[in-house]
């Protein structure tokens, strides 16, 4: 079982559309994992039937019980996040500000501060209309996107793939280069970088690639909306050549991507022409490079 991660330096490059297209093409060979837990969109294109729904807890929140407090102000003094306030003679912890470090809990002489697990989000396993499993999640409001939920989604997807004897886990990674991305990348067998030919596109690509190189992963690149700026697309291609990264596809700027989304379809279902062909070829190459 191999793991393929689709990634882009920034949102909006078309990562989800492309991952969904691969998911439709790979269909029964794979388990799909949506690691963009902050703004998971894959379910909009795959119309999943939810089979499992679970609460996901990560970290802790602290709360002051009023009984027993001797008003020593210690909790308020030690908190480095200004989460404790003294309101109407009582100590209150603002759950939005609290980092969950437990320092106040450690120093409270009367054990008046309680510790609770923090509800970080929800986690789902679903069946998609492509006949495969989608593992996805939704991060709760104000929850820390520390990568733990991403890790959980990946682990669960891998488990499913092994159980169902699938060849691949296909991961839609979260955007950016922060900890959720590192959590979606480590240990992957192949990374598909999706970029667009804009000034920021090349810049984000080089940052993402730096991370991929640090993690010593195999990768390839898809340039989306390649025709909006041929000169920049040329610079991106040069960058890929210099770094020996295979160019998997160059896709044109095409309103059919948006039309497909508006009808909740993947582009390979909506378009039967050149776009579909390019993506079919790209997917074949990804499989080849992954299996190598």
């Amino acid at each position: 079982m191999k793991e393929i991660v689709v990634l882009s330096g920034k949102g909006g490059a078309g990562k989800t559309s492309i991952t969904a297209a691969f998911a439709a093409l790979g269909a029964k060979d794979l388990v799909l994992a949506d690691c963009d837990v902050d703004a998971a969109d894959m379910h909009l294109l795959t119309a999943p039937e939810i089979q499992v729904e679970e609460d996901f807890y990560s970290g802790k929140v602290y709360e002051v019980k009023t009984d027993g407090c001797v008003h020593c102000f210690k909790c308020m003094k030690v908190c480095h996040f200004d989460a404790v306030s003294h309101i109407d003679g009582e100590f209150v912890i603002d759950p939005m500000e609290c980092e969950g470090c437990g320092y106040c809990y450690q120093v409270c002489p009367t054990r008046t501060i309680e510790m609770h697990p923090r509800l970080a989000g929800k986690f789902y396993v679903s069946n998609t209309r492509f006949g495969n499993t989608l593992v996805h999640a939704r991060l709760g409001i104000a929850a820390d996107n520390s990568g733990k939920l991403v890790t959980k989604v990946r682990e669960e997807a891998k488990k499913m793939a092994l159980e169902q004897q699938k060849k691949y886990v296909l991961v839609d990674a979260s955007p950016g280069i922060g900890c959720p991305v590192v959590a979606s990348l480590t240990g992957a067998h192949f990374v598909v970088m999706v970029t667009e030919p804009t000034v920021s596109g090349l810049h984000d690509l080089s940052r993402v690639y730096e991370l991929i190189r640090k993690l010593k992963l195999k990768s390839g690149c898809i340039i989306n909306k390649a025709d909006i700026n041929p000169e920049m697309a040329g610079q991106i291609k040069q960058f890929l050549e210099e770094n020996d990264v295979p160019l998997l596809a160059e896709l044109p700027y095409d309103v059919r991507f948006t039309e497909a989304i508006s009808q909740a379809k993947t582009i390979v279902e909506y378009d039967q022409g050149a776009l579909r062909e390019k993506l079919v070829k790209a997917w074949e190459e990804v499989r080849e490079l992954t299996d190598k």
Partner: protein, 293 residues
């Protein structure tokens, strides 16, 4: 006044709106004593700077505090490892190891160490740079170092810096990081109004609702701007009407806009249709922030 520009997800046009609004306002403010600051708080990938070139006027390295283990003082009592909630500190029997990328700088281990063996020390997090473009426009960005895992502390420091250094003379525009988790919440903390930018597609609609939930939770006043208006459908518009959420601008979908964006150029100077909408957005901002006062 602080206006934050946010969106549930990246790629919806935050930077486009922020840059073009900043340029338009600086033209309007020219000679009036009023000024605009555009601050890019998307510290993982600050991109606004690709559109605004100016003279560097200040550069500052940002640090955060992380404990440093002093072997000679430590009695190996293990207390530190017991207090750290984030596993940023491991007790290895004969030594203590620190994982700076996991540390939240809470000071618990350092303060509670009976031997003073864990003094908090500075660690580099990233850089903040300020640029001046003209007498009424400044631009600022913070950029996290590669390998630094947490964006929020750098955003927090930048936010405080802005609060301390820019007075009422300044209209501050904040280009926020994408998403709905900690970094965005940190970025919009001081904003008087949040502009949520979205696209008229099912993706856009879905992400917008998440972003609205987040703003609602924070008690932030917000308005919606629709980008690439003309593609997709009217779901977003209908929803906002129904919920009485102000939609203060609709940036038309223009291929020229995508081309200009790809070249790192602003649109207000060459595309009248965009300029017009940015003007409307500014009036909308004024109206909504007056209501508040």
């Amino acid at each position: 006044m602080q206006i934050a520009i946010a969106s549930g997800k990246g790629g919806t046009g935050k930077t486009t709106l922020a840059v073009n609004l900043a340029v338009l306002l600086s033209e309007k403010f020219s000679g009036t004593g009023q000024k605009v600051l555009l601050a890019d708080l998307d510290v993982e990938e600050p991109n606004s700077g690709l559109f605004l070139k100016g003279d560097l006027i200040e550069e500052q390295v940002n640090y955060r505090m992380v404990p440093d283990w002093k072997e000679d003082k430590c009695t190996l009592c293990k207390r530190c490892a017991n207090v750290c909630e984030f596993n940023a500190l491991a007790f290895l029997g004969i030594s203590v190891m620190i994982f700076p990328e996991l540390c939240h700088s809470c000071y618990a281990c350092s303060d509670l160490c009976p031997e003073d063996a864990l003094p908090m020390e500075k660690r580099r997090m990233g850089v903040t740079r300020r640029y001046r473009l003209n007498e009424s426009l400044e631009f600022m960005e913070s950029r996290i170092d590669i390998g630094v895992e947490q964006a929020t502390p750098l955003i927090e420091q930048t936010r405080k810096y802005i609060k301390e250094n820019y007075d009422d003379q300044w209209m501050v525009l904040l280009d926020s990081p994408p998403g709905t988790s900690c970094p965005v919440m940190e970025a919009v903390k001081d904003a008087d109004l949040v502009l949520l930018i979205t696209e008229p597609t099912p993706f856009g609609f879905h992400d917008l609702k998440l972003a609205m939930d987040t703003m609602g939770e924070l008690g932030k006043k917000y308005a919606v701007v629709i980008n690439k208006y003309g593609i997709g459908n009217d779901e977003v518009l209908h929803y906002c009407e129904q919920k009485q959420i102000p939609v203060i601008g609709k940036l038309p979908h223009l291929t020229e806009a995508a081309v200009l964006y790809s070249k790192g150029k602003n649109m207000v100077d060459t595309l009248p249709a965009i300029r017009n909408e940015i003007e409307k957005i500014y009036s909308g901002i004024l109206k909504l922030t007056e209501d508040r006062a």
